[in-house]
Amino acid sequence: MVKVVLSNPMLALTQGSRELEFAVSNYRELTLALCAQWPQMATLIERSAVAIDGQIYQDAFAEPLASGSEVFFMPRIEGG
């Protein structure tokens, strides 16, 4: 199972559930699973960066996820 930690704006959709688990093998499958459960999640995912096992991706798409992987959704950062 992949452990998913949602960002604050996402909690309103999940009624406050921050940590979830999914049986998926890549990031695309994870986002599809989230959107299947909460369709409004798609916009929030699009606006988020994501950290997969500590590695920050501004635009993840099909990155592989192993059992035990940790996925954190977080605000996008750009900088000056």
């Binding site: 501004q58 605000p75 950062i77 900088g79 000056g80």
Partner: protein, 751 residues
């Protein structure tokens, strides 16, 4: 990842390739492009900080001989623009368009209301005086805390706080951020000392020396070229074409040399105006801002009010931290409220914390990114509170930070666990530094603070072309604001195994190379460097194929060593190695020119930490502060060009010292900026600063082929706290308001 040893090119500091042109005056900056029949554009700016525009009449200006075009908000396509602008705090494209030219309301003093193009700059200025604008003046909103009150005057009647459920009423709060973990009550109960303070940071400008400038030349078909001083010509092209309803393929953007940006040139101001004026007049239009316009209508950073509470045990462990920070966004949403929230505790492992941040509209210029946007203001507050805790515990401030320091595997406050980071290595280097082990000079105070920035990757493209003699030409799409051309050449030379002097790099225009995001977020050496490295690796693969063809071997029987193809181990071939130059000379026989390109969306930018300390002395009679010494230590991952890395650290320190000691936007009660010039807005000059001593720490980023971390943002973060802590220790009283200018310090000294 490549071993951090035995590099031949990386880690050297050759003379910058753009230096000669810059010191001889040959370099072409934004205002240096001149074209036949060129005319000059000027902008009419609002005399009010907050007013409704009742009418704009440009007819009298247009009737003047020598005036070729005049525009106002009505000349831009209507309807709401979708999408967001690049750069931190870029905001929505719709807001950026309304910042470029006001529509129904002016939202700050200096907001663009109309623009003209005339045969001379003087005539254009005279034509501005002929434009008639009727205003209904409204009360300006100038105080960030008062602006948050539900009863406050609204900057934008259509602004509702972005919450999952739309609030009933509009307000000046555009966005809120919140990060939390653990139990605050339990954390503060476990503390032996608790420090609670309110800190303020002023609005400060990026202070780039080159004002905004551009030239647009648009033909009768609406197609043409824009030359501009920018951190991202691709994103400037996208914004300009979107605002004007044009196909971006009709516009070519050329990035000129740039005289500083620091985040402030990630957004458009003049380019859409010059493009529209050129299209209407049928002539090339040059637009340059005066310094006053730069101050009034571009940049600045957010002013902040930060309330911080921290609890610490006797052994130095931070047991709880709570922060509330209001960021001024200026007239449109887009303050760096989330980076502030995410960075404030980032260097530390804290069990119990809460940080709440707010993006608040006020009638001041729309803020823009400024090096590590949001982090200096937020971390200044927390680093000062930690320093006071260290004093209360009679503990060395570096030791206190070491007790709590984040390391590989620490869960960051914003979520993920840190990969390898260099924070502890920076703390160790600081503690052992000879500037730290020597006594504090008589009457001075020593301040310590730390800095952090996430760094980013994002999209980059690069081409590598091998010339007929084996020399190398790189074309990248990232404007060079901090020496990236030299870094690209070093990485290419290292990868190809050739001399640095055989490699050149240039910044291609939007029709010459693939898309690149803005040069910002400390991403260029990391991400564009990765593209250059990948393109060089493709060149090597091609050269091995050509050598195999020449020798009658299989490709996997050829290796690349020291810039030449050689038979692999155990391959029995009586051949001489083929250098890149030899392969290039024979390229016509082996398949044509040797070129390669790479485009990527780089992930895995490694966070950069810093530790700074300095000795400052306050003259108690005048309030003047002398910086006696300043030391900056930072993890660069791997310094590709160490002198440039040191330059980034020194430049960031100088800017941070200026922000801490003197720089601030001073508005009157009507929202008029009173110090819109370098005489009254005082940035540090050489005589204000000592030599900024630097030490580069190298804890390689495992996500980059050479271990690179971005270095441009982090250096500005620590100096605010460093200076405040040094001055506070020097005076033996906590100074919580920046800048610590002489009058403010005299007020504090006089009680």
């Amino acid at each position: 990842m490549a071993e951090a040893v035995d590099y031949k090119q990386i880690g050297t500091s050759p003379v910058r390739p753009d230096g000669f042109d810059k010191v001889t005056g040959r370099a072409q900056f934004g205002a240096d492009v001149n074209l036949p029949n060129m005319i000059h554009g000027k902008v009419l700016r609002s005399p009010h900080a907050h007013a409704r525009i009742k009418s704009v009449d440009v007819s009298a200006a247009l009737a003047m001989p020598g005036v070729y075009a005049a525009i106002s908000g009505a000349d831009f396509p209507g309807g709401r623009l979708e999408g967001e602008a690049g750069g931190e705090g870029g905001g929505t494209m719709d807001d950026v368009a309304k910042n470029v030219m006001a529509r129904n309301k002016v939202l700050y003093h200096g907001h663009a209301v109309a623009a003209v193009a005339a045969s001379t700059a003087r005539l254009a200025e005279q034509a501005l005086e002929a434009i008639k604008v009727e205003y209904e003046v409204l009360t300006p909103v100038l105080d960030v805390v008062a602006a948050m009150d539900a009863a406050a005057t609204l900057v934008n009647e259509e602004n509702y706080t972005a919450l999952p459920e739309k609030p009933e009423n509009p307000s000046n709060i555009a966005n809120v951020g919140r990060l939390e973990r653990g139990n605050l009550d339990e954390g503060f109960m476990a503390a032996d000392v608790v420090v609670e303070r309110e800190f303020t940071c002023p609005m400060a400008h990026q202070g780039y020396i080159e004002p905004h400038a551009c030239i647009a030349s648009i033909d009768e078909r609406g197609r043409g070229t824009v030359w501009c001083s920018t951190q991202g010509h691709f994103e400037h092209r996208a914004a300009t074409s979107k605002m004007l309803g044009k196909n971006m393929a009709d516009l070519k953007f050329v990035a000129t040399e740039i005289g500083g940006g620091f985040g402030g040139k990630t957004v458009v101001y003049l380019e859409p105006l010059a493009t529209l004026l050129s299209e209407k007049s049928g002539r090339p239009v040059k637009m340059t801002m005066s310094r006053e316009e730069v101050f009034r209508a571009t940049g600045p950073s957010s002013a902040t009010v930060a309330r911080v509470k921290v609890g610490v045990r006797k052994d130095g462990t931070i047991t709880a931290a709570q922060s509330w920070i209001a960021f001024e966004a200026g007239a449109f949403a887009g303050a760096p409220y989330m980076p502030g929230a995410m960075s404030i505790y980032a260097p530390y492992e804290i069990e119990n914390f809460l940080v709440e941040t707010f993006d608040v509209l006020v009638n001041k210029p729309k803020v823009a990114a400024y090096r590590a946007p949001g982090a200096p203001q937020a971390m200044h507050a927390f680093e000062c509170a930690l320093d006071e805790a260290a004093q209360l515990l009679n503990m060395d401030p570096i030791d206190l930070r070491m007790v709590n320091a984040a390391d590989e595997g620490t869960q960051s406050p914003y979520g993920p666990k840190f990969p390898p980071i260099g924070f502890k290595a920076c703390l160790q280097a600081a503690k052992a530094h000879p500037n730290y082990t020597k006594p504090v000079p008589e009457g001075a105070g020593r301040g310590v603070a730390v800095g952090f920035w996430f760094n980013v990757g994002m999209q980059s493209s690069a081409e590598v072309n091998i010339n007929e003699n084996g020399s190398v030409m790189i074309i990248e799409g990232s404007p060079d604001i901090g020496g990236s051309r030299a870094s690209m050449c070093l990485m290419a030379a290292e990868t190809l195994g050739i001399d640095y002097d055989d490699v050149r790099a240039q910044v291609g225009d939007t029709e010459s190379t693939g898309f690149c995001n803005v040069t910002g977020g400390s991403r260029t050496t990391f991400a564009t460097g990765m593209a250059v490295t990948q393109a060089c690796e493709a060149v090597i693969a091609d050269c091995k194929r050509r050598a195999a063809m020449t020798w009658g071997l299989d490709e996997d029987q050829v290796e690349w060593e020291d810039g030449q193809a050689v038979p692999g181990p155990g391959v029995n071939a009586d051949v001489k190695p083929l250098s890149l130059a030899e392969l290039a000379r024979k390229a016509g026989k082996t398949g044509g020119p040797i070129t390669a390109r790479a485009s990527l969306n780089a992930q895995g930018a490694g966070a950069a930490f810093s530790v700074n300390f300095a000795d400052l002395r306050v003259d108690r009679e005048t309030g003047k502060v002398d910086v006696l010494s300043y030391t900056a230590i930072q993890d660069a991952g791997k310094a590709i060009h160490p002198a440039y890395v040191e330059g980034q650290m020194q430049g960031g320190a100088a800017q941070g010292i200026g922000w801490a000691l003197n720089e601030e936007y001073i508005f009157d009660e009507n929202g008029v900026l009173e110090n819109a010039g370098f005489l009254d807005y005082r940035i540090p000059v050489a005589s204000d600063l000592p030599m900024i001593d630097t030490e580069i720490v190298e804890v390689p980023n495992p996500s980059h082929p050479f271990g690179v971390r971005g270095v441009g943002e982090t250096p500005i973060v620590a100096p605010l706290g460093v200076c405040a802590n040094a001055v506070s220790r020097s005076l033996d009283m906590r100074i919580t308001e920046l800048p610590m200018s002489p009058p403010r310090l005299l007020d504090a000294i006089d009680g």
